[in-house]
Symmetry: C2
Subunit: 191 residues, 2 copies
Amino acid sequence: MTESPLPWPKLSSRHDPSLILFRPRWDRLVNPRTSQPMERLVLETPDWVNVVALTDEDELVLVKQFRFGTSRVTIEIPGGMVDRGESHADAARRELREETGYEARAWRYLGAVEPNPAFHDNLCHHWLATGCKRVSEHLELDAGEDIVVYREPLASVAERVRAGEIRHVLVHSALQRVVDLFGVSGARRAD
Amino acid sequence: MTESPLPWPKLSSRHDPSLILFRPRWDRLVNPRTSQPMERLVLETPDWVNVVALTDEDELVLVKQFRFGTSRVTIEIPGGMVDRGESHADAARRELREETGYEARAWRYLGAVEPNPAFHDNLCHHWLATGCKRVSEHLELDAGEDIVVYREPLASVAERVRAGEIRHVLVHSALQRVVDLFGVSGARRAD
């Protein structure tokens, strides 16, 4: 394994209902089964993109970063939010360049998933980028990012997924459209 | 297709930062790259479970429900939150029984994923339940649920995933450990 970003020292912690990544909205709805009105929460969220970025040597371009939700350094594929007015195709190219310094020879759309239709209103779009090459050593990181970029053979990454070292479901979802992560070819039985 | 739950009429909508499904927490952290302190949001979230529930006829037990985030009726596998003090194994059995009225002959753990390590601190545990049979016509639904249960052959559900009719990434993630949803056997090329 390569170098890893450092864990972020925690100075303090407080509970506060204001948010940044999302815009919380309460909808007042009627349950048609009971005719009972109730309020339900929606976190309005911009669409997300992530990128399966392969070099000509069949290596994946990966990012390691400290994640605030789980307080752990994760291995992920590059990705981020689609900016207002930006297409998800453009966002995929921008995130790859900003987060890794790589550009690709060819792009193919892999489809979209709902991160969680219970409370998010957004999609995460998956892209495949091939023929990736590093074009810049300079990463355009914002103040909230500290990223280490590295490459790893695709087969080895699939092994890390099976071993539970890579657990981000949106990373699995994108990779799964390129490689059969779990080696299943039909239904498996529990009994 | 079978009957579908009705869309829920919206009476009104308001923005309010208070939450129920999560407990928002702001952590004050230092970015080791810049030594700059900053606040980052964590949504403290209970673990989730979902269940790939198969009958002896290789049919999946599925639930249709109106989802508030996307304002659409979705097709999903049964699942929900792990209660405080409950094991995820027990939660899987409980959610299957409460949401569908089914019980299983055998259970096998399929592993866990991080729904989003950027802001959630939880895991979603996937379970495979086989030999499923309906033991009750009565569903134990809370006031916020209106669910239609039906069965569909596993192969036909995989086709729905490929067609984009089933898009919930946590549903894909569980199913993917039982059947190769996207029919990939190695890396695919964009060029």
